[in-house]
């Protein structure tokens, strides 16, 4: 390759560009039809989970259990921003460009081949953030057309020009000063941007919003905690407790286009550990909600942990699939919950089909007729799972062909000490503390059969981990741990096939994968960085289609 300078050519270019009207440029960007393709378009990963199903299971087959030991880092992108916890986002990849968000309202467009930047965005944040100061993380973009959508630590939702990173619209979701923030990747569906809110550890009232992608105008809002007189208000002692009842929606949900239903998790009731001033089951906190995408109305719900006292948010990626239950194929939504139970619902009706513990929790081992845990240890009979639960917001994955649900499990031991505290807007309302016994705690990657919740295999980590999971059709499961290892496992046996020490805990982040230049890339965030892996060029097999 040589480098030279040219005057004549540039003049011609200038003349041609100037004469090319903008409207004659080809249409670009992501359509709703593209989003519907999900995993079946292997050069693209266009949403947080890569697909409306939330399965995080790619059909790609270039990286296999046989060759994954040759996987090597191709590039690392350093955000240059030291986060409170880690890099929690899942990047998007469209047409060879990677779009990622980072802590403190930052975002970048990168060359997916090299990790080199096209543009960067940094939001100017107020100095008096509340939940956003404690957790300034961001988990990713949504995309439609040439627009990217992200939420911010000061509880706004903004649209950026995907080509330049400039702000197209900026809409306030809620008042950050009383405790709201926003962290979850928006979910783009047909004509709507669905955005969840964070800050349920502060005296706030959770909601799920839909915005117009063109203007940023709010289309509907569903409050997860009811208002006075509304259904569920009888599960609270009074109006005041509901206005600050928690129930945030801080992990991206899933979507069934045929039913036009959104499936979303809701967070802990507020305050976290002291519950005597919020007597009742506290709907719809610690629940899954199925919300009509057209209207924002609640279609069905299930509360996993009535009157939660352990900060067991139900903010998980609900996984949609067709699973044979008792020999009968059912369209289901599955949740491995922070309370230690694995749940399978009929996703049209909300009927509970399966509910059994997938962790060693001693808190409860069975559900009652209403699908609620029968509590056998309230903490008086030994330690309970800690406040981060048996799993957390790190995404799981589901391999339908092998009928295996892969989930990062935390086996922990903690004592809860609730305290009655004065609730102050803008201040965190823990109302208690948790003492953890680190020596008796560990992490484990577990493969379970969703129909029976039988454990098929597991791989133990030294400490409880917060890393997400991705699996592929070739039979490789990618996962991470709290010691910073990014790892590959055989989906059938659970045998570890490869590891790469990233140098910082993999915290909340889950892998994603895409094809570029005929090579399958796998990407993980860790610490201040994002790293892309691929097989050496000569080792690659042809792309799968």
């Amino acid at each position: 390759m040589t480098v030279r300078r040219s005057l004549v050519l540039a003049t011609l270019v200038a003349a041609q560009v100037a004469s090319m009207p903008a409207q004659e440029r080809p249409p670009s960007g992501v359509t709703y039809q593209d989003l519907l393709k999900g995993y079946s378009e292997p050069t693209t990963w266009a949403s947080f989970s890569g697909d409306f199903s939330g399965q995080r299971h790619s059909p790609l087959r270039q990286i296999t259990p046989e060759n994954v030991h040759r996987l090597a880092a191709r590039w690392t992108f350093q955000t240059g921003i030291v986060p409170r916890r880690g890099f929690e986002g899942t990047p998007l990849v469209v047409d060879g460009v990677m779009y990622l968000t980072g802590p403190f309202g930052s975002a970048w467009a990168l060359d997916a081949r090299t990790g080199r930047p096209f543009w960067r965005y940094r939001r100017d944040l107020p100095t008096d953030l509340t939940y956003g100061a404690i957790s300034p993380v961001n988990r990713g973009f949504g995309i439609l057309g040439d627009r990217l959508f992200m939420v911010t630590p000061d509880a706004h939702v903004v649209a950026l020009d995907a080509k330049t990173g400039t702000v197209l619209w900026d809409t306030t979701m809620a008042d950050y000063k009383i405790g709201y923030a926003a962290t979850a990747a928006p979910l783009v569906i047909d004509g709507k941007v669905i955005a969840g809110i964070s800050g349920g550890d502060f005296p706030t009232r959770g909601f799920l919003d839909a915005y117009d992608p063109a203007t940023g105008a709010r289309v509907w809002r569903f409050y997860t905690v009811p208002g006075p007189g509304e259904p569920g208000s009888d599960t609270w002692p009074g109006a005041e407790s509901m206005t600050r009842g928690g129930g945030a929606t801080w992990v991206t949900g899933s979507y069934d286009p045929d039913l036009n239903l959104l499936y979303w998790g809701t967070g802990n009731p507020n305050p976290l550990y002291y519950g005597d001033d919020r007597k009742g089951s506290n709907l719809h906190t610690a629940s899954i909600i199925a919300v009509d995408a057209a209207t924002g109305k609640l279609r069905w719900y299930h509360q996993f942990t009535p009157h939660d006292l352990h900060d067991w948010d139900s903010n998980h990626v609900p996984v949609l699939a067709e699973v044979a239950i008792g020999g009968q194929p059912r369209k289901v939504v599955m949740v491995a919950n922070r309370n230690g139970f694995f749940y399978v619902f009929d996703r049209a009706t909300g009927k509970l089909l399966v509910g059994k513990p997938y962790s060693d929790t001693t808190w409860a081992r069975e559900l009652d007729a209403n699908g609620h845990p029968i509590v056998v240890n309230d903490g008086s009979k030994g330690c309970l799972p800690d406040q981060w639960g048996s799993t957390n917001y790190m995404p799981p994955s589901y391999d339908a062909a092998r009928r295996l649900f892969f989930v990062t499990v935390r086996e922990t031991c903690a004592e809860y000490r609730p305290v009655k505290e004065t609730i102050v807007p803008g201040r965190i309302s823990n109302s208690g503390t948790v003492v953890r016994d680190a020596e008796r705690s560990y992490g484990v990657l577990r493969a379970i059969d969703p129909a029976t919740v039988e454990r098929k295999w597991e791989f133990k980590y030294p400490t409880p981990t917060m890393a997400g999971v991705m699996s592929t059709a070739a039979g490789v499961v990618f996962a991470g741990d709290n010691e910073g290892n990014f790892m590959a496992f055989d989906a059938r046996s659970g045998k570890n096939l490869w590891f790469f020490p990233t140098g910082a805990p993999i915290w909340g982040a889950a892998p994603m994968t895409f094809m570029v230049d005929g090579r399958q890339h796998v990407v993980i965030g860790s610490g201040t960085s994002v790293t892309a892996f691929a097989l050496p060029a000569e080792a690659g097999t042809p792309p799968p289609r």
Binding site: M1, V3, R5, A10, V13, A22, R25
Partner: protein, 254 residues
């Protein structure tokens, strides 16, 4: 760039008491130069002329005051990569002193005349293909939604655009191994790869190993609008229109 920061400085100045006057002091300039290299040069360039951010060598000539520059460093520029600073006042004063030492001598900001309505019409017939104002327009040139350069800077950019190419808009032609020519604007580059926006406004990354040649054009993709294409009167109208885009109030969220 300079003028953008100026407008911000103007409103900040209206709200905050002015800092103590900046004395002229060689030691202070040297201190400022050190601070500049440590904290500013990554974006603004070792010479202050701008790498990934704005040219700081024409602040005073565009009408800035010491106080405005001070306040812009203190408060940052909302919705841009320029952060606020909590450094002590004397460090900021040293930076101002250093910046003034590398700035052109001030001249009087000209009075704007011209017909903004005609300027707007001219903009959308001649400029909007490549420049954006808010959501309308192209991306092959810098976004002009909040353009705030001095008249001299704007005249130079319109009459002789190739004299100074904006960062991120340097024209290149990539020649692939197959001989295909890709005309584009350079967004980023290292020894092994180059990231560009092509003339169809697509973001594209190339490995240099896959390219036969990277031709660095010295002529801006923007055609020069000499007096044959844009009369003096029309230029005044265009500048008048662009002046209406200057942010009168801070672009700060409520």
């Amino acid at each position: 760039m300079a003028a953008f920061a100026l407008a911000l400085g103007a409103w900040v100045a209206a709200q905050a008491p002015p800092p103590p006057a900046v004395p002229r002091d060689d030691a202070q300039v040297r201190t400022g130069a050190t601070l500049f290299r440590e904290r500013c040069a990554e974006c603004h360039g070792a010479d202050g002329k701008g790498v990934a951010a704005h040219d700081l060598t024409r602040l005073w000539s565009a009408g800035a005051t010491d106080n405005q520059v001070f306040q812009t460093i203190r408060n940052g520029v909302p919705n841009t990569i320029m952060p606020s600073s909590n450094a002590p006042d004397d460090q900021l004063r040293a930076l101002v002193a250093y910046l003034r030492s590398i700035n052109d001598s001030p001249n009087t900001p000209p009075e704007l005349s011209g017909n903004a309505e005609n300027g707007e019409r001219l903009f959308w017939t001649s400029c909007g293909t490549c420049h954006k104002i808010k959501e309308r327009g192209g991306r092959m040139g810098p976004d002009l939604s909040r353009v705030n350069q001095s008249r001299d800077q704007l005249v130079a950019a319109i009459r002789t655009p190739s004299a100074s190419l904006a960062t991120g808009f340097e024209p290149v032609t990539l020649v692939t191994r197959e001989g295909r020519r890709v005309r584009a604007l350079r967004k980023s580059e290292d020894a092994f790869s180059i990231q560009v926006m092509d003339t169809q406004e697509r973001l594209q990354g190339y490995l240099k190993g896959d390219l036969r040649e990277v031709v660095r054009e010295t002529t801006s993709m923007m055609p020069a609008f000499g007096t044959d294409k844009l009369s003096g009167g029309d230029l005044d109208d265009l500048l008048r229109f662009l002046a209406t885009l200057r942010p009168a109030t801070p672009p700060r969220r409520p």
